[in-house]
């Protein structure tokens, strides 16, 4: 029988010796300037932000709290600071198509200046234009034109009237028109008088009437034409007057912005619009009352409303900005990314114009860098689609969701799109990265650079010191008390525990920072000005205590006998398995009773957990492997006439993972060999078809879970846990466990094969096949093989009569 060496206390926890540190407190240590353990990610980020080609946006993948944001910001801000400041962007009215505001790109800081200049220009016009229209020259000229028009009309009618008079006729006004009547002595001829006239005279009168009516018809047709001509000439006059007021003001502006052709073109449009709408500048002085839906508006309000079209909407102002922008959008909804057009309620209706266009994060970051949380982008409706469309088209088009999805056809504004030159950095979990890569065909084209952040670094003496400097840096940045060497060592040990590996250290900065903050709290509570090892330990204990209500309940139920766990004695077909419960930021282990029952059957190993759909696929896989192992080892040349059932007793939720498969096999072998298993031991580890024990996760929590049960009941010196030998390097156990092992009260057995494990559990040798291929008598393997042989014979005996009946 092979002897398995118990692990010594030194193998259970890779201690960090405070004596290795030469500093008294971490305040003596220099800050870390670089990024610890993220060489791959750092290089990827530097490459991604350095390359200027389409689609080279970044996805920073890694576990939350790994310091991705910090590293990304640090690297990007350093690069952005050395880059030229990006442009200002303004929206202005398009006077020809007001629903399509045009965009102006201006040098940084010029947007606000242009806005001020235009405001001043409009203010100047508000006094200059009314003054021009008040001038005597304008009034005289206008009166002249009006009189001319009036005279032309009157002249036409007067001529006709005189002509009628010369023929003895009068042009008279009837209730609904005009007529020509034959007159005599100032009175219209009566019918009797008319009848008395000679026929030739009557005919003459009628002919004259017809002729006069034809002329009147021509005049009536000419009147609107004359009026239009008169109005056209008055408009021309008004344009000339307006031009005299606006001309020199706009020329000054055009001179100032001569180097910006788009601005000059806009100023030309402004000039034309002012000339075409001079009334807007005169409205406060005179004009008719202005109403909306019959409700009068004050003239000043109406004038201000009309003059809004001349405003400059400075969408992005880079005044005083040094370098390219670096923007982090915390709430990346569709509209906060691509911008939006706001509306204001006016007289019960929602109205908008270009001054209500608001920028999105893409506008803010244009010419620089935009950092987004991938999960937030994906959980906001249509934000991901909006982001992709902007990146693909390399322009930001502001549309409401209704417009983008063609849900509404009432388009209010279609602002001219803004050319987009931005580097987007998505920060997300690995799962999201791989899911996007798999399911979204655009993702690969748009996010070509992956910055994969490590969770751990290798634990070496050098890295322990580096870690101490990391701790010192965080403490300084966070304004925390410095740590003494013992505290620092304890943080490093916990760093290994968080990495679940004695040879690794976690670099999840969030967790480290949280631990330092909490240790600082306890140190201050204790009135110390340096964080000591006991403060770190207290922070850890307090954190566990805050989170372990469920663990305590489970332990309590075990102690009270509600959950049946034996830690002494022996039982056939029963073993203590170990499982881990993972909560939000806290995981703990606890033992579970695993039992096996066997009977004659057709070779199936029944996993009750799976049958009731409380077993995950990995758990089922582990159980199915057992059939393979049994068949291959004990019944390779005959049917496996066994029916076995396995169950995790008293579990009421889903069991997942294959870490209990070795325990299940031990229970099965015990049941077959009828060899009792020591209940003072617990088992973890998965098994393959060759009977080799394989590594599992959560080894520390599992050992501690069983230790707590035994410790509460009183350690007997026999108790312990069988773990896979491959897991020894992951051991970072609690101090009380290590101390119990050191005192010989508790044991950890590293196991490599099923045979080693069953020997430990039963105290009976497993046995190896001899030269004849037989297991030695009395060994577990021999007993199992014989039992299976008997079962096979029994099965054949049951089957034979039936076969004979068939033959007859």
């Amino acid at each position: 029988m092979a002897t398995i060496e118990r692990l010594g206390p030194e193998a259970l926890c890779a201690r960090c010796d405070p004596a290795r540190f030469t500093f008294k407190t971490t305040s003596e240590l220099d800050d870390l300037t670089g990024v610890v353990g993220q060489a791959r990610a750092t290089q990827a980020i530097e490459f991604g932000i350095g390359i200027h080609h389409d689609g080279y946006n970044l996805f920073a993948l890694g576990a939350p709290g790994a310091g991705r944001h910090k590293v990304i910001r640090q690297l990007i801000e350093r690069k952005a600071a050395a880059e030229p400041a990006s442009s200002d962007w303004c929206y202005v009215n398009d006077f020809d198509q007001p629903h399509k505001p045009r965009v102006l790109e201006l040098p940084a800081g010029t947007g606000v200046k242009l806005r001020r200049d235009i405001e001043q220009f409009i203010e100047d016009l508000r006094s200059a234009i009314p003054a021009a229209f008040e001038s005597e020259e304008y009034r005289a000229r206008r009166q002249e034109l009006e009189h001319e028009l009036k005279e032309r009309q009157e002249h036409a009618f007067e001529e006709l009237r005189q002509q009628a008079e010369s023929h003895g006729m009068a042009m008279i006004r009837t209730p609904s028109g005009m007529a020509f009547a034959p007159m005599r002595k100032g009175e219209v001829l009566s019918p009797e008088e008319f009848q008395k006239l000679p026929e030739t005279e009557q005919k003459r009168i009628e002919a004259v009437m017809t002729s006069l009516e034809e002329q009147l018809e021509r005049i009536i047709h000419q009147v609107p034409q004359m009026r239009r001509e008169g109005q056209r000439r008055i408009r021309e006059l008004e344009r000339d007057v307006t031009m005299s007021a606006v001309g020199h003001l706009i020329d000054e502006l055009k001179k100032e912005y001569a180097s910006l052709p788009k601005v000059v073109s806009y100023l030309d449009a402004v000039q034309q619009a002012v000339i075409d709408n001079a009334d807007d500048f005169r409205r406060q002085e005179d004009g008719q009352e202005i109403t909306i839906l019959g409700i009068p508006l004050s003239r000043a309000a109406a004038s201000a409303s009309a003059l809004r079209r001349f405003q400059v909407n400075v969408l992005i102002d880079r005044s005083g900005a040094g370098g390219a922008p670096v923007v982090y959008e915390d709430s990346p909804s569709y509209h906060s990314l691509v911008g939006r057009v706001e509306h204001i309620a006016q007289m019960g209706a929602l109205v908008t114009d270009f001054t209500l266009i608001k920028p999105g994060a893409l506008h803010q970051a244009n010419g620089g860098y935009l950092i987004l949380d991938a999960r937030k982008v994906l959980t906001q409706s249509y934000a991901w689609e909006g982001l992709k469309r902007a990146l693909s088209s390399r322009e930001v088009r502001i549309e409401s969701l209704g417009q983008a999805l063609s849900l509404i056809s009432t388009v209010s504004l279609e602002p001219e799109p803004i050319p987009l030159d931005v580097k987007v950095v998505l920060v997300g979990e690995r799962l999201l990265y791989y899911l996007l890569n798999y399911f979204d065909p655009d993702f690969g084209d748009l996010f070509k650079v992956a910055a994969d952040f490590e969770d751990t670094i290798t634990r070496t003496k050098e890295n322990d010191l580096l870690y101490a400097r990391l701790v010192a840096t965080i403490a300084r940045q966070e304004g925390l008390l410095p740590l003494d060497p013992a505290a620092c060592a304890r943080v490093i040990e916990h760093g290994a525990r968080m990495a679940a590996d004695a040879e690794k250290l976690t670099i999840r900065l969030r967790d480290i920072t949280d631990l330092l903050r909490e240790a600082d709290y306890w140190a201050r509570q204790g009135g110390r000005d340096v964080v000591a090892g006991e403060d770190v330990q207290r922070a850890l204990d307090a954190k566990i205590y805050r989170a372990d209500r469920l663990r305590e309940r489970l332990q309590d139920e075990i102690h009270r006998g509600t959950l049946l766990i034996n830690s002494q004695g022996e039982r056939v077909g029963q073993v203590n398995g170990l499982s881990v419960v993972a909560l939000d930021n806290f995981a703990f282990g606890h033992p579970s009773r695993i039992t096996a029952r066997v009977r004659l059957g057709k070779g199936e190993v029944l996993d009750i957990q799976r049958e009731v759909e409380l077993g995950g696929p990995l758990h089922s896989k582990g159980v199915l492997i057992l059939s393979g192992f049994l068949g291959a080892r004990y019944a390779y040349d005959r049917p496996l006439s066994l029916s076995a059932s396995l169950v995790f007793e008293q579990t009421y939720g889903e069991v997942e993972g294959d870490s209990a498969s070795s325990a299940e096999l031990y229970a099965l072998l015990s049941a077959l060999a009828e060899a009792p298993i020591k209940q003072s031991l617990a088992v973890t580890g998965s098994v393959n078809q060759h009977g080799e024990i394989q590594a599992i996760g959560g080894v520390n929590e599992k050992i501690e879970g069983f230790f707590d049960v035994c410790h509460h009941r009183g350690l007997t010196g026999d108790q312990g846990v069988l773990i896979p030998a491959a897991n020894v390097k992951h051991l970072m156990l609690r101090r009380n466990v290590v101390e119990a092992v050191a005192e010989g009260k508790f044991h950890i057995y590293p196991v490599s094969t099923v045979d080693q494990g069953i020997e430990l559990l039963t105290g009976v040798p497993a046995g190896e096949r001899d030269a004849n291929g037989m297991f030695p008598d009395g060994t577990i393997n021999q007993r199992v093989e014989v039992r299976l042989l008997i079962m096979a014979e029994q099965a054949r005996a049951y089957a034979t009569p039936l076969e004979a009946e068939k033959e007859t």
Binding site: K150, G177, M178, F194
Partner: protein, 274 residues
């Protein structure tokens, strides 16, 4: 009569109604004036006998001013049209006067317009007539006939003109101008404004009878001399003082072309006092 206080105030105002735009504007001004002076308003609609005679002619037809289409006329249709016009005029009068709570009456008469208006103005203090700008160059024979023959004062109201301040009166010392001064004083007191007196003769100080008449009126009175005593001088003086309402003696306007000139030069209401 040394004091305007003793002059009979305007108690009855006659207005010729024809349902035209200028007639409606004149009506509103007349109603406002009647309201302030607590006068009674008499609306007169004259069914022009010349129109009826014309409609009886076998070839009578009219041309629409808007569409230039020719429509046949007959006596029945014309009478119907005039009745409809009279109804509209009456309704407008009642509605406008009712708003200001002015006592009013309405009459329809048939005959020649000038004759009928003159006949109706026997016991009338003031005749209000709307005049269109087209008529400035050539005062219609109706208006001319009334001004020449009536014994009442005549208020000529160009389109859009109202009884506005400042009231400006032309004073030449004639009895009619003394009466004009009295009327102007009443109008100014209604406006609570300034009264401007334009003397036809050059004078350094207000004449005693004028000062006496305006004494105790509570008005701010400005005295000015006209550049010349003719109508050109009156127009120039009124323009210079930015007259809102011009009051003058009818006798000053009897000369051919004088009234036409004045109306062409001014936009304000003109009150001719006889």
């Amino acid at each position: 009569m040394s004091n305007g206080e003793n002059l009979p105030p305007i108690r009855r105002i006659l207005i010729s109604l024809d349902a035209s735009a200028s007639g409606t504007a004149a009506l509103e001004t007349a109603v406002a004036l009647a309201s302030r002076m607590e006068a009674e308003l008499l609306g007169l609609f004259v069914e022009d006998v010349n129109l009826l005679r014309f409609a009886a002619l076998p070839f009578a037809r009219e041309m629409s001013f808007f569409s230039a289409r020719i429509r046949r006329l007959d006596i029945v249709g014309m009478e119907r049209a005039l009745r409809a016009q009279a109804s509209r005029a009456e309704a407008t009068l009642i509605e406008t006067a009712g708003r200001q709570r002015v006592r009013c009456s309405f009459r329809v008469v048939r005959g020649e317009v000038t004759t009928q208006l003159l006949a109706a103005s026997q016991d009338i203090d003031l005749i209000a007539l709307g005049v269109t700008r087209r008529q400035f160059h050539r005062i219609s024979p109706t208006v001319r006939g009334i001004i020449d023959a009536t014994r009442s004062s005549v208020l000529l109201l160009p389109t859009d003109a109202r009884i506005n301040a400042p009231v400006t009166v032309v004073y030449d010392g004639s009895p009619a101008s003394i009466k004009a001064l009295s009327v102007a004083r009443q109008l100014s007191q209604m406006q609570e404004g300034i009264l401007t007196v334009l003397f036809t003769e050059k004078t350094e100080s207000p004449k005693a009878e004028v000062a006496e008449q305006l004494e105790g009126s509570g008005l701010v009175v400005r005295y000015r001399s006209l550049p010349s005593a003719d109508m050109a001088g009156v127009a120039q003086g009124a323009r210079r003082e930015a007259a809102g309402t011009l009051v003058l003696s009818t006798s000053l306007c009897l000369k051919a072309g004088a009234l036409e000139y004045l109306l062409e030069q001014l936009d304000c209401a003109v009150l001719l006092v006889r």
